[in-house]
Subunit: 180 residues, 2 copies
DNA sequence: GTCTATACGAAGATAGAC
DNA sequence: GTCTATCTTCGTATAGAC
């Protein structure tokens, strides 16, 4: 995937602004200014404002899903679930803006980039669901996966947004103690 | 608290639209039209668009917190936590639009109604934190509360948005199995 | 491929009638 | 207290220069 420096600057600036203010509340002027490029360049590179947003979501979900799959690869049962929780927290720390975006957009249905955001559920939460189904065949995989994902996600955001002085290990311990 | 019929119609219509599209993406025209009132009435009753939003959040948090406190009143330990999870799911079912709003806005910092949304953390999640502190004095109360709250919230939204055919008892069982 | 300038529509807010 | 009409700003998107 070839990505120019301009493109990357725009994505980075947009993600940071949108995570904090929301998508519609962030203007292309703001994004271009924060990225240090002209407004026209945003439209040249992404076609439209919502095109930019779709690109951000698609790339973020792909990265998150790949990381989760790699982390649980070869593991089974409880080990696999612990690895997934740890990796999700690691990814939240590495990309907090994307985490905010996920939690804000996953359950909305009236947005133009709905198809892109659907991947969060199907791919990222799906990684949890696969391991749940294998570990606890008697439980409902998708509801349990949502609960696990939600526990790690909200604890991770609580950590980064409101208690950044805590360590990853603190949060990991709190989540694993809760879900065991 | 005296609330006129017009006021209630506006709040109801706004909540439904905003939960689905986001706040800035929903126009006052849309809200007024869905509520069956004129645009001017929205501004007469709430002063501004963000004033309307603050009212929605404040009232929703008050209702949710009161319900959670009532549900866990007189209970302790695991009983209290089970009651909180059940009541949170019940409230999510009764007010799914408000639940979507909460999850979308709680971790944003760059919005004008930030002071109102802060109450979600302090009051609603705080109810969980109080019980956690009492039940497991050795654990971190706020991180554990966030994990519990997140498990119930995301499982509840997964249920209502994507699997509405499931029952409250299904979801309750999945969440409680996960967090025990 | 990136910039500046501009067109054009959308949306928050207000004034005044009823 | 609610409505209609209007003002004004802001924001997406495009055209064309460099």
């Amino acid at each position: 995937m070839r990505t120019t420096a301009t493109r990357d600057h725009i994505v980075e600036a947009a993600l940071s602004l949108v995570a904090d203010r929301g998508f519609t509340a962030t203007s292309v002027d703001d994004i271009a200014s924060a990225a240090g490029v002209a407004k026209g360049s945003v439209f040249y590179n992404f076609g439209s404002k919502s095109g930019l947003f779709e690109a951000i979501i698609t790339e973020g979900v792909a990265r998150l899903t790949a990381a989760l799959r790699a982390a649980s690869d070869g593991l089974h049962g409880r080990d696999a679930l612990e690895a997934l929780v740890s990796e999700l927290l690691t990814q939240i720390r590495a990309h907090p803006d994307f985490a905010k975006l996920m939690v804000a957009e996953t359950f909305r249905t009236g947005r133009s980039w709905q198809d892109s955001i659907r991947l969060v559920r199907e791919e990222s939460m799906g990684t949890f669901a696969v391991v749940v189904a294998e570990t606890w065949p008697d439980r409902d995989a998708s509801l349990t996966a949502a609960a696990l994902f939600g526990a790690a996600l909200l604890a991770g955001l609580e950590w980064l947004v409101f208690q950044p002085e805590r360590t990853l290990e603190d949060v990991r311990a709190a989540v694993l103690a809760t879900v065991h």
